[in-house]
């Protein structure tokens, strides 16, 4: 029978692909955050470049649309001195009927070193990671509902930056948890880093009950969900899910779960508010909160570049 080891790690336990925050040790995650700390200052320098990936090619393969994530990966790779190739797969090969692995083979023949992959199907980056040559690395930039590990890591970086450490924190993830790869990756990262109280908050249509088995407390009531928490992570509610059998309307969602300044008083006074973006003002979050003193949403974006630099430089330094 086959025994498959974690495809993210090589035989020495070193990170060769970043596919999910699940299955990575606290040391591996902390090392990424520590490495990112060194890169944060690069952004403040006159010459915003380090030569760590000089001569390497990073292919941004986005099978699903994205502006922010792709741009920050692009900037991160450029600051590491890599050559960056952006491919709008959604509008090219895939639409001409080329299979995923054929696309990968073709791009591999163009000497790719790192594939940054976003795909609408959960697990697609695993298929790619199992297929590429040993010297090629895969970084998951979001797959279906499954994982968005670099977003989770930049969230961890942000939390650590503002809160110091994880050992006494309460963190609430609010909104469409069901469809959220960010929520899943954050739960795994938080529990691994030692956060004792992770809550997922929303109606039963958007928060699966068996999330409890991932180590999160399921709350259907917002007040219970954010009472006394140090961190609130609001999730984006996709337009197509605002009205239908999951939710009656965006207005009603806001009425029950929208983050307002009044409701934020249920959290700790120094609680921070995060959001993976892009935000829907007046749906999951009121402008007064999004633009308010507790929001650290723009810090997340800035830290995202450093975290993605850290991830790419770490995986590129290890061979399969």
């Amino acid at each position: 029978m086959r025994i498959q080891r974690n495809p993210q790690l090589n035989a020495n336990g070193e990170l060769i692909h970043l596919l999910s925050t699940e299955g990575l040790s606290k040391d591996v995650l902390t090392n990424i955050l520590d490495t990112a700390t060194n890169f944060v200052s690069v952004s403040d320098r006159e010459v915003k470049k380090v030569p760590l990936l000089r001569g390497k090619s990073v292919f941004n393969l986005f099978f699903e649309n994205s502006t922010r994530t792709r741009t920050t990966f692009d900037i991160a790779a450029t600051r590491l001195s890599a050559d960056v190739i952006n491919l709008d797969i959604a509008r090219s090969s895939a639409s001409k009927g080329e299979s995923l692995l054929d696309t990968i083979d073709n791009l591999s023949a163009m000497a790719a070193d790192i594939f940054v992959v976003r795909h609408n199907e959960s697990g697609a980056p695993y298929l790619i990671a199992q297929h590429v040559a040993p010297h090629v690395h895969v970084v998951n930039a979001g797959d279906g509902r499954h994982a968005h590990p670099t977003q989770a890591l930049l969230d961890m970086y942000t939390i650590r930056h503002f809160k110091g450490d994880f050992s006494n924190l309460s963190v609430a993830i609010v909104g469409d948890v069901l469809h959220s790869r960010v929520a899943r990756s954050n739960i795994h990262a938080l529990t691994t880093l030692g956060c004792p109280d992770v809550r997922v908050v929303g109606p039963k249509t958007l928060v699966p009950g068996d999330m409890a088995q991932m180590g999160a407390r399921v709350c259907n009531d917002l007040r219970e969900g954010i009472s006394g928490v140090d961190v609130v992570i609001a999730l984006r509610l996709q337009n197509e899910r605002m009205s239908g059998a999951l939710l009656p309307s965006a207005q009603e969602f806001f009425k029950s779960y929208g983050l307002t300044p009044e409701r934020m008083q249920w959290a700790k006074p120094d609680a921070i508010v995060m959001h993976p973006g892009p935000i829907n003002r007046g749906v999951e979050i009121a402008s007064a909160v999004a633009d308010g003193p507790q929001a650290v949403i723009l810090s997340q974006v800035t830290f995202g570049i450093a975290v993605r630099m850290a991830v790419m430089s770490i995986v590129a330094s290890h061979d399969a």
Binding site: R2, E121, A124, Y126, G144, R184, D210, M214
Partner: protein
């Protein structure tokens, strides 16, 4: 052709026979059995010492991909795979391309399979035209062409009134209806609902999808008793309902696939698309219940659920991969493995592959009904001779099927077929 099978342990689950003896075959029939058979001069002798001589296996769910894949000689390879696995009769679902909803298509399939002189092929006709769940097919015509029942393969009938009418119409003529119980709306997922699917971000098929479909079928049957065969049960709850319905006297039978008998959701590891199966494999509690249900006879038959999927259709992200796996050549071995693990006697293991499925087919077998799935003097000579303890490792090279994808790849399994005799002809011989 006169064949003598010498010195094998002959097991016939139907009669309870389990004894070492010789079996003589002539003119396509079993003509004699006994410790020695005098006055019989065989043209071929099969040495079955150390082997089990069983009725040829009957597989109630095997896709041959014809019509649809003629260009790849799929029929030839899959028929060869069947007899290599000891299977002498197989039922194929109607979800071919085009769908088996016209007599001409069934005639052609029967003609092409007969010419190969291997396993007997019993097609299921489509219950509704194009499997669309709207218009009844010409069941009388299709039956004349050789259909043994009518089904929807994996396509549920959404409209309950149409479902009721299929029961009413089929019951008028004594045709059986084969359904895989799954609610259309709840059945849209790609993995079993549960903690694993949630964690992996895969859409789930809840147990309720099976239970609701079963409840609907049973309630309709209470008003219109039609013979219904329930295909590939996947859940403990579904099985419990079937047990009740059987006790109540509803005219139902059911089967389970080798996948649901052996595997559970966590076996998918890191999105292994070989575990993309329909129905999805569920949790430990379901697997345990299905194994117990097959052992106690609530489940009438074990099926391969064979579906030879091309590599291109499997090497895709999990949800996009085509469901199914190759299994014709694994059916016997996986049944024996179940027997070994759960301590089930050989006779009972073989019952799930012979007399059990023959009973499901019942009167639709016509003159074959009295002997198919049995070893009986005067009966048809469909026989599987196999060595029960020989181990083999499942690999691409060890399979004759063009389908190479199976979740059992790399498994070491017990049981190798020595010789398969179908209709009195040697259809497979490893000696």
């Amino acid at each position: 052709m006169k064949i003598l099978i010498k010195s094998g342990r002959v097991i016939d689950p139907a009669s309870g026979m389990d004894a070492q003896q010789d079996v003589a075959i002539a003119g396509g029939r079993i003509v004699a059995m006994g410790p020695t058979i005098p006055d019989f001069t065989p043209e071929k002798t099969v040495d079955a010492s150390g082997a089990i001589v069983a009725p040829g296996l009957i597989d109630l769910c095997a896709r041959l991909r014809e019509p649809g894949f003629e260009h790849e000689s799929m029929l030839e390879s899959e028929m060869a795979a069947a007899v290599a696995g000891g299977i002498t009769s197989l039922v194929c679902p109607p979800d071919t391309d085009p769908v088996l909803d016209e007599p001409g298509l069934v005639d052609m399939l029967k003609f092409r399979t007969k010419k190969l002189r291997q396993a007997r092929v019993f097609p299921l006709g489509a219950l509704t035209r194009g499997l669309k769940g709207e218009i009844l097919t010409e069941m009388a015509e299709l039956t004349e062409s050789g259909c043994v029942g009518f089904g929807q393969a994996d396509v549920p009938i959404v409209n309950t009134q149409v479902l009721q009418r299929t029961f009413q119409y089929a019951a008028s003529f004594g045709y059986s209806v084969w359904l895989r119980p799954q609610d259309y709306w709840l059945g849209q997922g790609v993995a079993a609902s549960g903690a694993l699917a949630t964690r992996m971000g895969l859409s789930g098929v809840p147990v309720a999808a099976e239970v609701i479909a079963l409840q609907t079928i049973f309630e309709l049957l209470r008003g219109t008793p039609a013979r219904v065969h329930l295909c590939r049960i996947s859940s403990a709850k579904g099985l419990a309902l079937i047990r009740q319905a059987k006790a109540e006297g509803l005219p139902i039978t059911c089967d389970v696939s080798v996948h649901n008998l052996h595997l559970i959701d966590v076996d998918m590891g890191y999105y292994d698309a070989r575990l993309r199966l329909q129905p999805p494999v569920r949790q430990q509690v379901d697997r345990d219940a299905l194994r117990a249900g097959l052992a106690d006879g609530t489940i009438d038959a074990l099926v391969s659920d064979h579906n030879p999927v091309e590599a291109d259709a499997k090497n895709l992200p999990f949800a996009q991969a085509e469901p199914g796996g190759t299994a014709l050549e694994l059916l016997l071995s996986l049944a024996l493995k179940w027997g070994q693990t759960d301590g089930i006697p050989d006779r009972q293991v073989l019952r799930a592959l012979t007399r059990g499925p023959a009973n499901v087919l019942g009167q639709s077998l016509g003159s074959l009904q009295d002997s198919l799935g049995q070893i009986v003097i005067g009966g048809v000579a469909d026989i599987c001779v196999f060595n029960p303890t020989d181990e083999w490792v499942v690999s691409d090279g060890s399979l004759r099927s063009q389908g190479k994808h199976t979740p059992f790849s790399g498994y070491a399994l017990p049981g190798r077929v020595v010789t398969t005799i179908a209709g009195g002809f040697v259809a497979f011989d490893s000696q």
